[in-house]
Symmetry: C2
Subunit: 347 residues, 2 copies
């Protein structure tokens, strides 16, 4: 099994998701700037995986800080944290991970600089391991929503490649399959970056889970044909009212699902929930380079100089979401109530 993000003696190692499925290449980053670039350039992507990579990047950066006194060390760590936060704006797990690392430092009392460095590495590793455990728990809750013999449509990649392992949306599928249910998956190819065809189809095939690839504009047709029983996707950020930021195209899939009375589920850990953001309107949407649309694997597929829009995410309003699957349980509308309860204990 592949590893999405890993902490090694040599540095932070990430599978280069831009080259999959043609080539399986692992890249080793020896400083935090390399990790930051890897996040920005989408060597690693997927909200939970970005969070893990950012935490490891901070641990790596901390371990290389030369300062001997705590105050200088903390100032330097602050600078590294700010650099990391500038990589990608939409997925909140990035900011969540940076904040968690900083909180550890703030609460670490009278440790030496060297002890602190060790603690930060431990924390990054903990975030990594917790993520897999969280996905497994989420999977067990989500599996209850999938009947034996159903076909699940998913958009983008919310799988092992989008997390430390196992996956959020695909974790739900994996969990149902492990429980012995027969589940088929339809994967939208997810232009422009093709996370669906390159990553989701690949990791499901590796796991011998029945997957059929379609282009993004075929999902409505498949729903009308009665071929889809449920939609399960991940999330990059969930606002306090239940609005969901996720890969561009998710909103269209959710509307189409509603029109065909197909349940639309979002699988995401609590680290994706951002109670500081009231509604989806306040979530920043990253606009990426037009080259992603006009070129494919380096080949031009559109006329030179054509105008392009390339928002990387969209907002699915809460009313289109049938349920949110978290590691603490399944949340249904009214979301503002259920999401708040996530942070005070039980669901």
């Amino acid at each position: 099994m592949f590893k999405t993000v890993e902490w090694k003696k040599t540095g932070v190692v990430m599978i280069d998701q831009r080259l999959l499925p043609d080539k399986v290449v692992y890249r080793t980053y020896k400083d935090y700037k390399g990790v930051a670039n890897g996040i920005k350039d989408m060597v690693v992507r997927g909200a939970p995986a970005i969070g893990v990579a950012a935490a490891m990047g901070l641990a790596l950066g901390a371990s290389r800080i030369k300062a001997k006194n705590l105050k200088a060390f903390k100032r330097e760590f602050q600078r590294i944290s700010n650099h990391m936060k500038k990589t990608r704006p939409t997925a909140v797990n990035l900011f969540w991970a940076v904040e968690r690392m900083n909180r550890l430092m703030d609460e670490s009392g009278d440790l030496t600089v060297e002890e602190l460095k060790d603690r930060l590495v431990e924390e990054a590793l903990r975030i990594h391991d917790e993520d897999i455990e969280i996905n497994r728990r989420m999977g067990r809750f989500g599996s209850r929503l999938l009947k034996h013999g159903s076909t699940v449509l998913t958009h983008c990649n919310a799988g092992a490649l989008a997390t430390a392992g196992y996956g959020t949306a695909l974790g739900v599928v994996r969990s149902a399959v492990e429980e012995g249910k027969k589940i088929k998956v339809f994967a939208d190819e997810t232009r422009p970056f093709l996370q669906g065809s390159r990553l989701t189809a690949w990791e499901l095939k590796e796991d011998k889970i029945d997957v059929t690839l379609i282009t993004d504009n075929m999902s409505g047709y498949m729903m009308k044909k009665g071929l889809i029983d449920a939609v399960v996707v991940g999330a990059d950020r969930i606002a306090a009212n239940g609005d969901v930021a996720n890969k561009i195209g998710t909103y269209s899939v959710a509307l189409l699902a509603k029109a065909h009375r197909i349940p639309f589920y979002v699988a995401a850990p609590t680290s994706t929930v951002d109670l500081n953001i009231k509604t989806g309107d306040d979530i920043p949407i990253e606009e990426r380079s037009s080259d992603e649309v006009t070129h494919l694997r380096g080949k031009r597929i559109a006329p030179r100089g054509v105008k392009v829009k390339n928002p990387a995410f969209d907002i699915t309003p809460a009313w289109l979401v049938t349920a949110i699957i978290t590691e603490k349980g399944i949340i249904r509308a009214p979301y503002s109530w259920g999401l708040k309860r996530l942070f005070v204990g039980k669901v």
Copy 2:
């Protein structure tokens, strides 16, 4: 200005739409089998253009028939017609054109074989010229539906490249622009064949019409942002009840438009209307090779051996269609009544 399909002394000449916009290559077909392959392999595509190419292919085939007596000639022409009809199943203009050429022959009385050959060439040229004239008339009707300053979303290519010239959906845009209206166009890239990015964006840029390219999964987002005022698409076949077969993804765009209260218009000549087909359920949907989804310009973009669905068209039910723009006028629901009137004279 480029020519989509042209009759020349050397044969039938078509611009190779698979190579646009990188390369502008004209291919000359010297026999009907070449033209048939050109239709099948999508050198030429778009319902009206397929009709024109098929008519010219038949004229070319007829001119090469060796038979000296009329009965043998007609038998041979029948064989050629059947070959042509097997190229693509969904666009009805193909069958319409073949039928029109056969009707001419049946009604030609006591001509010699050589005279008949000339008549068939004349008829093919007439179909070509009429198509351009029809598009211009359609454009003038359709233009009434577009306000100054509006932004039109279109899917696939229903432009000069999909017709003998001028275009159906893009003819409506061209007509509005010629009348001095300020019109912007958003073009869906239209996977898998990329007619939107390769053809629509290209021909609008050539015409200096303001065009912005998006991936198919962005249209819902653009509608929600209030950036789209109307959708205009072409059609491959329209059933007697107003259901519309068009490029895969059209159905999703129509549903999204309905959800956002954006008018959804279909621009198509009467040759696209098939009163023999009661509803869209009876229109055959072509399933094309999985390579179109797993490869892009010869490059693999999905894991080896992955299952794929690749329906080339879908059906948009009549209730999602705000109006059908024809060369005889604008038709609104109830379509069964309005479409029938197309064939008895006035609208």
